[in-house]
Structure formats: C-alpha cells, structure tokens
C-alpha cells in the first residue's frame, strides 16, 4: 500500500517534470538545439512572482502563478535573443555554452534576490487532504496535475489549431521550406521560446507551491531532471515528455520508499534502459534517412 501511495504521489508530482520536459523538447523540436537555461528561467519566473507576492501582500495564488508564467515567458524571449538569435546556426556548441552562461547568470540573480535563503511561497489549499480508503492524497497535488494537464491541452490546441502553431510545426519539420512559404523563422522561434517559457514558469510556480518553498538550489536540480525526462520521452516528442515525466515521478517516489540514495541511481538506470532498448524514446522516431 505504501508503494501504491508513493507511486500515486509520484505521478501527480511528475506532471511538473512533464512540463519542464515539454519546455526542453519544444525548443529542441523547433530549433534542434538545447536550451540549458530553460529550467533556471522557470525557477527565476517563480522567484519573480515570489517578489510580487512579498511586495503586494496576500496576492491570490492564481495571480501569483500567472505572474510566474508571464515572467518566465519574458525570460524565454530574452534567452532566445541572447543565446540563439545572433549566434550562427553552424555553431551549435556556442549556443549550448551561451545557455550555460545564462543558467549561471539566472541562478546568481535568484541567489541575490533570495540572499541564498529558502523562501516561503504560497501553497495551494495547504490543509486540504483527500482520503480514499487507505490512500491519502494531497489535494494540491491533484490541482498541480489538473493545471498541468490543462496547460498541456492548451499547448496542443495552440500547436494544432492556430496559425502560429502550424508555423511552429512547419519550422520544426522544414525550416527552409517554411521560410519560402512566408513564415518568419525569427518570429516563430521567438514564439516557441515564449511558449515554453510560460509552461516552465507555471511548472516552477507549482513546484514552489507544492513545497511551499522556493530555493536557489532548484535550477540545477530541475535542469538535470528536465533533460532526463526529455531523453526518455524522445527528443522533440511532446506526448513522450508527458509520459516520461509521469514515469520519472512514479519511479522516483516508488524507489524512495525503499532507499533515497538509490533513487537517483535508479532514474539513471532507467535512462540506460531506455537508451539501449528504445533509443528514440517513448514516442520518438529515429531519423534513419538522410
């Protein structure tokens, strides 16, 4: 029963991993580049909302979340401008390194804002619990789950139902052809960064909110977790990132009931299993033809 309980917790919390994974995978899908500053921007967004929350006392929680999402969206655009826009496509390592610089920069800004201290962050319904037979579930985890799913559905609708979404997918598949069809590469890329930033900001806010704390320790941790989810899900695959996020959450919490120190090793093992058995990820397709 302990295990079942833990796995349910894991799946619920795993949605935030999924959101971070989607952020990485979205940018990778469109630009075929890695944005290592993404998770840091998500947490920085949450910190921006924290500052707002501290400044205007008793801001309602949904508004705090929106501020976080908006701030992270803006940061996403800034990352695009500083790390991608002006660096030639031929130098993928330069963009990678630039995002590392951005990661360090954002991490340090967060450290300065918080003075390196853990900060109280508003929780959603801090005392609500839902008892279901022997199971005991935190209502705010269910909220996290619901909000994440809603955000993912919104994203999918955006990608498949709007002009901007079609442009994004076109650029992801055939950048040159898309340009010839009059799609602005620059604008589409920027939009992708903003979209992923908004998702990340939401995830950052929910991670902080479910712990009721924010800390400058989070960015690096979340970057690693996001990369793991992205790889297991398959590069550029949004459904893959969702399933992988839930899977990683469930495995973490499940293993935790046995040993905390083995937890991270088991996640690493999970990567190896996937890399060997299914190198393209859960839903990913390998590009075999050149």
């Amino acid at each position: 029963m302990v295990l079942v309980q833990a796995i349910i917790d894991g799946i619920l919390v795993g949605t935030t991993y999924a959101l971070i994974g989607i952020g990485f995978t979205l940018i990778f899908g469109v630009m075929h580049k890695l944005n290592l500053a993404f998770a840091a921007a998500s947490i920085a967004g949450a910190f921006a909302s924290l500052v707002a929350w501290q400044h205007f006392k008793d801001l309602p929680v949904p508004l705090v979340f929106l501020i976080s999402a908006a701030a992270a969206g803006v940061l996403g655009y800034l990352i695009y401008l500083t790390c991608f826009r002006f660096i030639p496509l031929k130098s993928p390592l330069a963009t990678l390194m630039a995002t590392v610089g951005m990661l360090i920069f954002l991490e340090e800004i967060v450290t300065h804002v918080s003075d390196g201290k853990a900060q109280n962050y508003p929780g959603m319904l801090p005392d609500a619990r839902w008892t279901l037979g022997p199971l005991d579930i935190r209502v705010d985890y269910i909220l996290v789950f619901a909000i994440s799913v809603a955000a993912m559905l919104l994203l999918l609708a955006l990608l498949y139902r709007t002009r901007l979404g079609i442009a994004t997918r076109a650029v992801a598949q055939q950048p040159v052809a898309a340009q010839l069809c009059g799609i602005s590469l620059d604008r589409t890329n920027a939009a992708t960064f903003v979209m992923s930033g908004v998702l990340g900001g939401l995830a950052g806010a929910m991670i902080g909110s479910s712990a009721e704390l924010l800390s400058n320790l989070l960015p690096l941790q979340l970057t690693v977790k996001g990369l793991i989810v992205t790889v297991i899900g398959g590069l550029g695959s949004i459904p893959g990132a969702i399933v992988a996020g839930l899977l990683v959450g469930a495995v973490e919490k499940g293993v935790e009931t046995w040993s905390v120190l083995a937890r991270d090793l088991c996640v690493m093992l999970l990567i190896f299993v996937f890399l060997v058995a299914k190198p393209a990820g859960i839903f990913g397709k390998l590009n075999v033809r050149d």
């Binding site: 302990v2 309980q5 833990a6 917790d9 919390v13 340090e108 450290t111 300065h112 003075d115 390196g116 201290k117 853990a118 900060q119 109280n120 929780g123 801090p126 005392d127 619990r129 005991d136 935190r138 991670i207 479910s210 712990a211 009721e212 704390l213 800390s215 400058n216 320790l217 989070l218 690096l220 941790q221 919490k253 935790e256 009931t257 905390v260 120190l261 937890r263 991270d264």
Partner: protein, 401 residues
C-alpha cells in the same frame, strides 16, 4: 582579429589593475582577512560573517586600535572575500593573503573549503621540512567535527555539536521524561547534515534513555517529502530530530503539518536556529528546540546583535563567532607583542599562532569558551525554542531556574 585584440586588451587591463591593487599604507595597520561564501546557496553565511567582522573592527578602532610591541597603536583593517564555497578558490585566497601583508585570516564558511585549506598549511610547526603554508587561520563557521587537528596553524571557534546534543538530551531526560521515542531525518547527501544525525544525535539520544524507532533521509534539493513523512506518521515517535538545512527542514515540517504528524517535540540542527528558518516556515516549526552557541540573552549579546544588524547582517551562532574571533584576535595580538612591520610579518604570524595555541579560554558573548588541546572550542550554549516567529531561549545552563 579585432575582437581577439579586444579580449587581449581586457586581459592586460585586468593584469595591470591587479598589479596596482596593493596600496601603500602610511599608518600602521593590522590586516585581518575574512573569507567565506558570498555567492551560491550559502551566501547568507558570508554576508553575516562579513557584517560581524566589520562591526568588530569598527569597535576596536573606535577604542584606538591594537597595541603593538613598541607601544604604538595600529588600526585594524578587515577585508572580506568570496570563496564561492569552492576549495580551489579558498586555497588561492589564502595563498594571496599569505603572500601579502595580511596577518591572520578568519574563515571559511564551508567545511569542504576548510578541509583542503588546512591541508595545505604546515601540519606541525616543529616540522621544518613541511612546506605547507605558515599562516594562521581562525575559523568562524565551518563546523564539521575535528577539522583543526589537520594543522597546527588551524584554529576554530565553532560549536562542538556532540557536546551540545549530549547536553540537550540530558536536559530532555530530566525535564521531559515523557519523551521516550525518537526518529531521525537527515539530508543523506550532505556531509554535515548526515553526520548531525548519524554521528551526533543518534549517538546522544540512547545515552539518555530515548529509544530510536526509525530514521528517514532525503536529499539537499528535494521538494517533496510525502514518503518520508508517511513513515514518520506510521512510527509515531515522541520526538522527531531533523538534521538538515532550513530549505528541506521547512519542506519536511510543512509536509508534517499537512499530514497531521504532530510529534511532542522537534529537534533541529544547530545552524537551523537562524532567521532563515523563521522566514521559511515559522508557523510549522513552532515549539522546535535547537541547541545553539548564540542567542541575545544578555546585554552584551544584544548590543553586538545590534551592531551586526547595523552592518546589514544578522547575528546568529555563526556570525557572532566571526565577531568573537576578531575580538579574540585583538587581545591575542596584543599579548603576542608583535612588531607589525613588513619585515617582521612571518615572525608576527608565528607569534599570533603561538598565542592562539596558548589560549586556555576566551571570553565569548554567552560566557567563557574553553579552548581544547587540538585547537577547537568548547563554547557555552543555550537551548532555543521557536515561538511566534522568533527563537527564544528556553534554557540557559548558566541560569538554572
């Protein structure tokens, strides 16, 4: 080519600036260099230590300064550098001090900096062959047990955790005999937190009749603790001891509140008796008890806390140690009768070291601190309890009631 020239230019400029940095001094000064983490996760420690050192220096200088061997007075000059909690940074900083006119250093924040730092010092002063640095360091924060034994140039004024927790459990046995069972929680991937439970509390509790019913662990950067807290709930101990930084300490007590885990007592790790914990989770830690080597319990302690606050730092068990260190160094330097001239620098450092080693006790803010043979401190302590968003003294051994 132009851009690379720009870079070369910047490098040259930096070099030139560096070469010009050591300024000439007209007045006699004694330089005490502070260093610690001012960036990264433990930034607040460095900020507070710096404030405390500056406050102490201001106080000494206001009273005329430090008396040298020739009877002249010298001003104290305190500097503070950031080591980013990185071993190599700390080593390079201390090498820089040792090759400049700094007399003695106070620091560092992190044990993982202190360990290698003490390692590069000369191990035994009698060993002429040992090429380690001959430079005294008087540590204020790095708390890991037994570090000063690495070198005879290393001194510490840090809490001795085994003694503190021994006293705490002894006190609990006498005053709260209804507490029979204890469960521990620790950050398994952080040496100090891990040792705080494994080597300190876990050892002390059974000595005073408390029964260990279980232990859980988590990691430094975890944000969810549902599994661990459920285990606590299942074991239902009287006491829960949490050896962790404020970030996960707060995460755990918040989860405990959510799951309705209400132990009769929560015990925290010494460094958690800070305002950070209160900013993070004042409501949930209400009633928790922590042994600490500082609390504003007497007029002098209150006055110093005010002075440190004026320098934009907060007074806690670590930063007040930095204050004490500078004050102790003043009297040590005066007792050592140093000349304070550039040509006597090496001899002066040795004199300061010997005088520090000769100390049997020092005056601290909470009373007399005993110095041990292996250059560690046994500091007076109090127990503080979280109450209404503040840490209040619940027991002071010097004032038995």
């Amino acid at each position: 080519m132009k851009k690379s020239a720009l870079f070369l230019g910047a490098c040259a400029l930096a070099l030139a600036g560096f070469a010009a940095a050591p300024a000439s001094s007209q007045q006699r000064v004694i330089k005490i260099a502070g260093f610690g983490a001012k960036t990264g996760p433990v930034r607040s420690f460095g900020v507070n230590s710096e404030a405390a050192m500056r406050a102490a220096a201001a106080e000494i200088n206001a009273k005329g300064g430090i008396k040298l061997a020739d009877g002249k007075m010298a001003k104290v000059e305190v500097t503070f550098d950031d080591d980013r909690c990185q071993a190599e940074d700390g080593i390079n900083l201390v090498r820089r001090y040792a090759s400049s006119d700094v007399l003695v250093a106070v620091g560092p924040t992190c044990s993982n900096v202190a360990e290698p730092l003490f390692g590069i010092l000369q191990k035994k002063v009698s060993d002429e062959k040992d090429s380690g640095l001959r430079f005294p360091i008087f540590t204020d924060v790095a708390v890991k047990a037994g570090l000063a034994q690495i070198s005879e140039w290393a001194f510490r004024n840090t809490p001795n955790e085994p003694l503190l927790y021994d006293a705490l459990f002894k006190y609990l046995q006498a005053k709260r005999p209804e507490l029979k069972t204890i469960m521990g929680g620790k950050e398994g991937d952080f040496a100090h937190s891990k040792a705080g439970w494994d080597a300190v509390m876990k050892v002390a509790a059974p000595k005073y009749g408390m029964n260990i019913v279980g232990e859980v662990e988590w990691k430094l950067t975890d944000t969810t603790f549902t599994t661990q807290v459920r285990e606590m709930k299942a074991k239902n101990p009287d006491v829960i001891a949490i050896a962790a930084h404020p970030f996960t300490l707060c995460g755990v007590v918040k989860e405990m509140a959510r799951q309705g885990v209400k132990p009769k007592l929560i015990i925290g790790l010494t460094s958690s008796s800070s305002m950070e914990t209160m900013e993070g989770c004042a409501r949930q830690v209400e009633g928790a008890i922590i042994p600490t080597t500082f609390a504003p319990v007497n007029p002098e302690a209150k006055r110093v806390a005010g002075l440190i606050a004026k320098q934009k730092g907060s007074a806690d068990l670590h930063s007040t140690a930095a204050w004490e260190n500078v004050i102790i160094l003043k009297s040590v330097i005066e007792a050592a009768k140093i000349d304070g001239k550039p040509e006597t620098l090496a001899a002066d450092r040795r004199k300061v070291r010997d005088a520090l080693a000769a100390l049997k006790e020092t005056q601290g803010l909470l009373g007399v601190t005993k110095r041990t043979e292996d250059r560690e401190a046994i500091k007076p302590f109090v127990f503080v309890t979280a109450k209404g968003g503040n840490w209040v003294v619940s027991y002071d051994p010097t004032k038995p009631n």
